[in-house]
Amino acid sequence: MKVGYFPGCSLVGSAREFNESLQAVSRLIKLDLVEIPDWNCCGASSGHAADHLLSLALPARILALAEKTGLRDLLVPCSACYNRLITTVYELQANPRLKSEVRELIELDLKLDVRVRNVLEVLKEAMEADGSSRIAKPFAHRVACYYGCLLVRPPKVVQFDRPEDPTSMDELMQAIGAEPLDWAFKVECCGAGMTLARTELVAKLCARILDDAVARGAETLITACPMCHANLDMRRGDIEKAAGRTFTIPVMYVTQAIGLALGLGPKELGLHRHMVDCGPLLAAATQSSTVNLQS
């Protein structure tokens, strides 16, 4: 399976391990990632709040470059980028006048025929297509799948999974031998948009997420969003202060969990880059039987 790839700034910066683990897993499951040349910022952090036209033009340029590769699918692992790109497609498809305005602005041909895909759907498809990949070490842990707010919303735009109770990540985790838990904060906001402006509020929101996951017996949180990861992992000190208690639960990217199950080492998957130590989790006894991915 061959797809266009737009990493976005997080994956080459604060979320390098997401990129590293995604690339490592992709090699094993025969997912060919073709990085879009000369990509630019998607405008997620402040662009879309500042100027509507700009907020469409930035993603539109990425889409136009992706179209040039001739690939039908564009994988956008960062959920903030994913949301911006898919929203742009939605808005411009509905408004031809706006589309031509944007096309003039970016000075590139824009057909909007590329499918913007998130990491969950692409991984699922690639793993199913590559029937040969086998689980070397089942990821036998109780996990809380944390989707965050951007992957599934707004439902009419992204049209992915059930907006209030998504299951696609849970299914992926089940496929690698993990036990996804039924918990209440799957799509709750972690407050990423306010992480600099109102840190103490964000810490409170994150604390509730961690609290419910721990209370239900999760050994790790699984996420697919660099923003969520940054908040829940890097802000752990603030969170503990807000909650008045400590949390040892690590937060892993979905690709890292899959990588471990496929037999990759922690280093290859960038697990050492996390603030919260994944060591104790990895040290816990795991079964070593081989399970077929699709079973």
Partner: protein
């Protein structure tokens, strides 16, 4: 050759001040076919009308044009005058030179010229009018009432008490509908069953009412006064005539764990069952899906024990064909279930229930005998959260409308809970309180002020279970959007009232229109609220839109009076301005090509297929035919017909053509 009379009215100064009426009469006299033309101060006055009548007789007029006010004002007056003089009333037309001319233009030649033009248009029209007679249609004086809820019961009783025959069809084994499920009713808190059951019994005993319970409409054909209904009487597997209602069968049936629909899934029933003790008719039905005998061929306990030998396993559905003159559709509504709400747990928490389930909990005849006990463990909840607008007014859920009854019943629920559990806490989340109605707002105030229900203005974003409690997360928007969390023991969702699942199919059987939510459409939202666009079919109750009991009853009585009005005549008289397909000499028989492109434009389904046969019955061709009983005269088919095989009396092709040419 036409002999047309033109009568120009001054309407005192109203026309005369701006239009030179004498000149209009003068100009009209030169229109070919006009043999008489006069002006007069008040045409509608007695002397004015006499002027017309005399001219009709003396000049042997074949048509009359009165140039005066709007035909919406005085057309009946002048048509009556013509008829009295012996001229067919449809040979009289009015030229509107007041509302459309003298009142809207300044005095001058151009205004006079316009009045003369308008007269000329109508002269050309009236030349092509033909004498018509009002259409007479016989009336079958039996009403079909669909649905035996409170609306259907009320409509049936009203019609029956007026001396007309009624056939009441109910799909369930008993009449009563949703109202029979309710505990107490707002705003008086009288017991729902106590006020309903006497009515149910009255229906069963009324000599003019034939009750067909456990039956459904298969099809309806025909038109106002002359419908043919086919009704499927589903097999009860019990001979209603023999059964005495002793209930031995329902007590002894070994299959006891079937969720009871009447108890909204909170109680259990047997496979042979009567939905509730006060059911009418109080005769059991065998649910063959769950009956051990029908599943395994063994058991038949009911049959063995029945003292009246009334159980009939071999009984089949029966189709009844009935002639009726009018239909009252009172098929009611449904509420969405808790599994409609992913954010509230997709129905997986047993203690998140909907309003109807709560009614059963609060009802003395319900599974807990009226004690508020939560479904999961039967404990009395200490904190109950009520959510108004669960689904209603929520675009994301595809339900834009207000379900109308929830504000009131939620207040009632909170009140009943506080009456029954004095130490309990009742929270109500609401968007805004819609308590318009007699004693309604007072009722809500009572819930808040006297019964201590805690009203929180805000919506609930999520409900989840934690440590045996239901965590209800919401916001209090009156206190600056402060997020709040309530640890509840039970949550009641006032889930949206929606059209019943079979509504669309039924509407198609009845040929009535429905809105995007599948609620049936009334003929006019303000002025014809109980009629449908199909003449002779009326609406009552919540099948039209969510409604409470008094509204449903009022509409049912309205529908009943419409039916009685219809039945007060032996024949129906209708304006004859309707369309017809032409007939010509053989071998064509009609210029209709039989393409039937007109069929779907007709809002009244008046276009039928008619096969022309030889004398020996051999089909020659199939052409369109307009059913005169159904046609309302809109003329949309006329405009669609390429060959002009359909024409419309009063607005015929030759008339409209001539009217335009009159302005050349």
């Amino acid at each position: 050759m036409s002999r047309i009379g033109v009568f120009v009215c001054h309407c005192g100064e109203n026309i005369g001040a701006t239009v030179d009426c004498a000149q209009v009469a003068q100009m009209s006299s030169s229109i070919p076919g006009v043999v008489h033309s006069v002006d007069y101060k008040y045409m509608c006055s007695d002397p004015g009308q006499t002027l017309i009548k005399e001219a009709v007789k003396e000049k042997k007029l074949t048509g009359v044009v009165v140039a005066a006010c709007s035909p919406r004002m005085h057309e009946p007056t002048f048509r009556r005058a013509c008829a009295e003089a012996g001229l067919n009333s449809f040979l009289c037309e009015m030229a509107n030179i007041r509302e459309h001319c003298s009142w809207v233009h300044e005095k001058g030649d151009q205004t006079t010229q316009k009045a003369a033009d308008l007269v000329r248009v109508l002269v050309e029209k009236v030349k092509r009018n033909r004498p018509l007679r009002p259409i007479q249609v016989p009336v079958t004086k039996t009403a079909l009432v669909l649905g035996g809820g409170i609306a259907g019961i009320q409509a049936s009783l009203d019609i029956a008490n007026a001396g007309q025959k009624v056939i009441l069809v109910e799909k369930d084994p008993s009449i009563g509908g949703h109202m029979a499920q309710l505990s107490e009713t707002f705003p008086t808190l009288d017991c729902s069953q106590c006020i309903l059951t006497p009515r149910m019994v009255e229906v069963a005993q009324h000599p003019n009412i034939t009750l067909l319970s456990y039956s459904e409409l298969e099809s309806l054909d025909g038109f106002i006064g002359n419908f043919k209904a086919r009704i499927r009487k589903k097999a009860r597997k019990v001979d209603e005539k023999l059964c005495t209602g002793c209930a031995v069968c329902t007590q002894k049936c070994p299959q006891k764990k079937i969720p009871s629909k009447f108890n909204a899934g909170l109680g259990m029933r047997t496979a042979i069952f009567v939905p509730f003790p006060q059911a009418v008719p109080n005769k059991p039905v065998i649910d063959i899906e769950n009956c051990r005998y029908f599943k395994t061929g063994k058991c038949a306990v009911c049959q063995k024990l029945c003292p009246a030998k009334a159980v009939r396993f071999e009984q089949e559905d029966e189709i009844l064909e009935i002639d009726v003159g009018a239909v009252v559709c009172a098929t009611g509504f449904d509420v969405v279930n808790t599994d409609f709400f992913p954010e509230y747990g997709y129905g997986k928490y047993p203690d998140v229930i909907n309003g109807l389930q709560y009614e059963r909990l609060a009802s003395a005849s319900g599974p807990t005998l009226g004690e508020i006990r939560r479904p999961s463990d039967g404990k009395i909840p200490e904190t109950v959260v009520f959510l108004a607008c669960a689904g209603s007014r929520d675009r994301a859920k595809g339900i834009d409308y207000c379900s109308k009854i929830c504000c009131m019943y939620t207040a009632k629920h909170a009140m009943l809970y506080r009456h029954k559990v004095h130490s309990g806490k009742a929270y109500v989340f609401y968007m805004d309180i819609r308590a318009g109605g007699k004693m309604y707002d007072e009722f809500v105030r009572r819930a808040i002020e006297e019964d201590g229900a805690i009203y929180v203005r805000g919506r609930v974003s999520r409900i989840y279970e934690r440590d045996g409690k239901l965590i209800v997360k919401g916001a209090d928007t009156l206190l600056g959007g402060e997020p709040i969390e309530i640890k509840a023991d039970m949550v009641v969702l006032a889930t949206a009232a929606v059209a019943s699942p079979a509504a669309e199919e039924l509407a198609q059987k009845l040929h009535i229109s429905y809105d995007s939510y599948k609620f049936f459409s009334e003929a006019h939202p303000k002025l014809r609220p109980v009629e449908t666009n199909t003449a002779g079919i009326f609406l009552a109750g919540a099948c039209q839109a969510p409604k409470d009991i008094p509204e449903s009853v009022a509409q049912a009585s309205g529908a009943a009076s419409k039916v009685c009005g219809l039945f007060s005549q032996d024949q129906l008289s209708r304006e004859p301005l309707i369309a017809a397909v032409n007939r010509t000499a053989p071998p064509q028989y009609s210029s209709c090509t039989g393409c039937f492109l007109c069929e779907s434009v007709c809002p009244y389904r008046a276009i039928e297929r008619e096969t022309i046969t030889t004398r020996g019955g051999k089909p020659i061709r199939t052409i369109a035919r307009v059913n005169p009983g159904l046609c309302q005269g809109c003329g949309t088919c006329v405009a669609v017909c390429r060959v002009k095989a359909i024409d419309l009396d009063g607005f015929s092709n030759s008339q409209l053509y001539a009217e335009v040419r009159a302005l050349a």
